[in-house]
């Protein structure tokens, strides 16, 4: 039997007003300081209304110092505090920063690697490749590295320097760093404000995938929507690609939990009224706010280093199995994006440049061509945006746009978004052999636990194509290519 739905109190009916084909507004009401703005198609609305995510958009709109609307991307679903798919910016004068607006998995993100290989070349070797990846990258509940336990001083270096630390240790190449959001190192990270508890959790988790929806996927370019952009990103039809999706592991979870406790007190101290305790926050300028941002940056850098090290083992796995050198493989980093983060950024608001703290919780930065924070390689194309789908369907590569910069603080969606709860997914998978079903579709799956694979069946997710089509249609990102999976390792 399925678990009963979680009913806490009657759901307030949130009114939506249609703005255009892809935009819906929650009018400002009651304690809201601004309106809500949801990016979605008409077909998505009934599902969105089923949970409490719209109420969460309205709740975020009550927080002090919010600039522009409280937004949600088309992959919106019920989170805790902020909705998943939520974007909100706060000014530095009265605005707040909220650990619940970033989430427990600080700098959970996605990176995409290209190769010189074509799909047919690796077709007979996919199973071997997946096995090598599974062997070389610890996955699953509480995965840890027995070969790599960091001392406190080293861990602090990781948190200060992020992906650059990993490259310095020989995990990857210097040119990788130019292809990571923020260069793989968020400025202002201070490991001294990260608790011993958090460091205990992180010390043997660097270079591990973890569990849940995290994965490494070998796939190929199945469709190209914009040839010029695809070429500029180094993509061609039939090309083998690799996606890595993971975050800051237990270290990030602990930083979030530690600072929620701090923020619960801070909210009372600074008189911030909270519609939900999970929204607890502190003024950005307060000591509590500054400390959280410094600790969050430290955890984010740990996550960048994590994905960098996994990249190294992906390269090694390919070299081992295919017996090819790095030059022939051409396993280069296209880009790495964070989709759970708060960033201090400059944006034009009512014609004036303002520095704001943009919270992206299950949302991806999507900066346009020519933006100073976009690396030189992508000045002409705009920043690559990587949107993973479920393990049975496809993922997308997009680029950021000027429209996104003007309307959503340069943000877009981050993934498919769940449609079934995990329990419902496991029930739907009962009596089925998901791994064999996937193999019949030509996708090799290896996972640490059966439940974690069953939870991730395609039916459990919205079709990511619908999500991406809304962001493309609304102009907040632009479709470049569709990638299909060949082999996946899951936590």
């Amino acid at each position: 039997m399925l678990p009963p739905p979680l009913i806490i109190r009657p759901m307030a009916q949130i009114k939506l007003r249609q703005v255009d084909e892809y935009r819906w507004e929650i009018p400002r009401e009651g304690k809201m300081r601004t309106r809500g703005l949801i990016f979605a198609s008409k077909e998505m609305l009934p599902k969105i209304h089923e949970d409490r995510s719209l109420e969460q958009v309205a709740n975020v709109a009550t927080l002090p110092g919010i600039e522009g609307p409280s937004m949600a991307m088309p992959d919106i679903h019920w989170g805790y505090g902020f909705p998943i798919g939520g974007v909100a910016a706060f000014n530095l004068e009265e605005g707040v920063v909220s650990p619940g607006g970033v989430g427990y998995d600080i700098n959970c993100g996605v990176r995409l690697l290209r190769t010189n290989l074509e799909r047919q070349e690796i077709a007979p070797r996919v199973e071997e490749l997946v096995n090598a990846l599974f062997h070389n990258i610890p996955t699953g509940v509480g995965s840890r590295r027995k070969d790599l336990k960091l001392t406190v001083p080293t861990l602090k270096e990781v948190m200060r320097y992020g992906a650059a630390w990993a490259v310095k240790q020989g995990f990857g190449r210097a040119e990788d760093l130019a292809h990571i959001e923020a260069g793989g190192q968020i400025p202002g990270a201070d490991p001294e404000v990260v608790s011993q508890f958090a460091m205990d959790r992180g010390k043997d988790q660097l270079g591990t995938l973890g569990s849940g929806n995290h994965f490494v996927e070998v796939g190929y370019v199945a469709e190209i929507y914009d040839e010029k952009l695809a070429r500029a990103l180094g993509l061609f039809p039939g090309q083998v690609t690799i996606i890595i999706h993971t975050g800051s592991r237990g270290l990030g979870h602990q930083v979030c939990d530690d600072f929620i406790k701090v923020m619960l007190k801070a909210s009372a101290k600074y008189g911030i009224e909270l519609p939900d305790r999970q929204l607890c926050s502190a003024p950005i300028r307060s000591p509590e706010g500054q400390q959280y941002l410094a600790a969050m940056a430290a955890a984010a850098n740990f996550a960048f280093a994590n994905r960098q090290m996994i990249t190294h083992w992906v390269r090694e796995s390919f070299e081992q199995v295919l017996q090819m050198g790095p030059r022939d493989l051409g396993l280069e980093l296209i880009y790495d994006v964070a989709h759970n983060i708060a960033k201090i950024e400059k944006h034009l608001i009512d014609g004036k440049e303002k520095t704001v703290c943009v919270h992206r919780k299950g949302a991806t930065r999507a900066f346009p061509p020519g933006h100073p924070e976009v690396p030189p390689a992508y000045r002409e194309t705009g920043q690559p945006v990587l949107i993973p789908g479920d393990m049975g369907r496809y993922s997308f590569v997009l680029v950021g746009t000027q429209k996104a910069l003007e309307e959503t603080f340069g943000s877009t969606c981050h993934g498919a978004g769940r449609e079934l709860s995990r329990a419902a997914a496991i029930k739907a998978a009962k009596g089925r052999r998901v791994v064999q079903e996937m193999a019949a579709k030509g996708i090799i799956v290896r996972g640490a636990g059966r439940d974690t694979i069953d939870e991730e069946i395609s039916e459990a997710y919205k079709d990511v194509e619908n999500v991406v089509n809304v962001t493309h249609g609304a102009g907040i990102s632009k479709k470049v290519a569709k990638l299909k999976p060949l082999g996946v390792i899951k936590g």
Binding site: P3, L6, I8, D51, Y80, V141, G142, F197
Partner: protein, 147 residues
């Protein structure tokens, strides 16, 4: 779906569906039982609890500003123990409980993929819709876990 039968109603904990995450509804005749059952429910989310041995003990003290926050702090401390040393509690004895402080002994096992069946990894217990209330015959709590 059938309504909860009286037998189910007495279960120490139930899982509630939440799109991305999982909710726990926990019951206990006393607050001590409620906190112990919450910990059992957390373990049961991560592994098949029945396969755990209860041979190792861990003494735990957590503090928080109020009873609800204490429940979250307790569960998150158990997640910390799991991350750091793979410890999973099977049974829990609450030795001291006030709204701001909990002392407990956990009896459990170190996770071993050869012996244990992993279920879902839990990132954290959250404060979202967190609630502890008195109900006829005891206490009830609701906690949402971030998975």
């Amino acid at each position: 779906m059938a309504a909860a039968t009286p037998r189910q109603y007495r279960r120490p904990y139930r899982f509630l569906s939440h799109t991305a995450d999982v909710g726990l509804r926990i019951r206990g005749e006393t607050l001590e039982a409620l906190f112990a059952n919450a910990a059992r429910a957390l373990t049961a989310t991560m592994v098949d609890r029945r396969r755990l041995r209860g041979t190792l003990t861990r003494d735990i003290t957590v503090e928080a500003p109020d009873r609800e926050a204490l429940l979250v702090a307790w569960l998150n401390h158990l997640l910390y123990l799991y991350d750091v040393e793979g410890f999973l509690g099977r049974d829990f004895i609450i030795t001291h409980l006030t709204p701001e402080r909990l002392q407990a002994r956990a009896l459990g096992d170190i996770y071993d993929p050869q012996r244990h069946i992993a279920k879902t990894a839990v990132k954290a217990a959250t404060y979202h819709h967190l609630d502890i209330t008195r109900v006829p015959g005891g206490w009830q709590a609701t906690v949402i876990l971030d998975l």
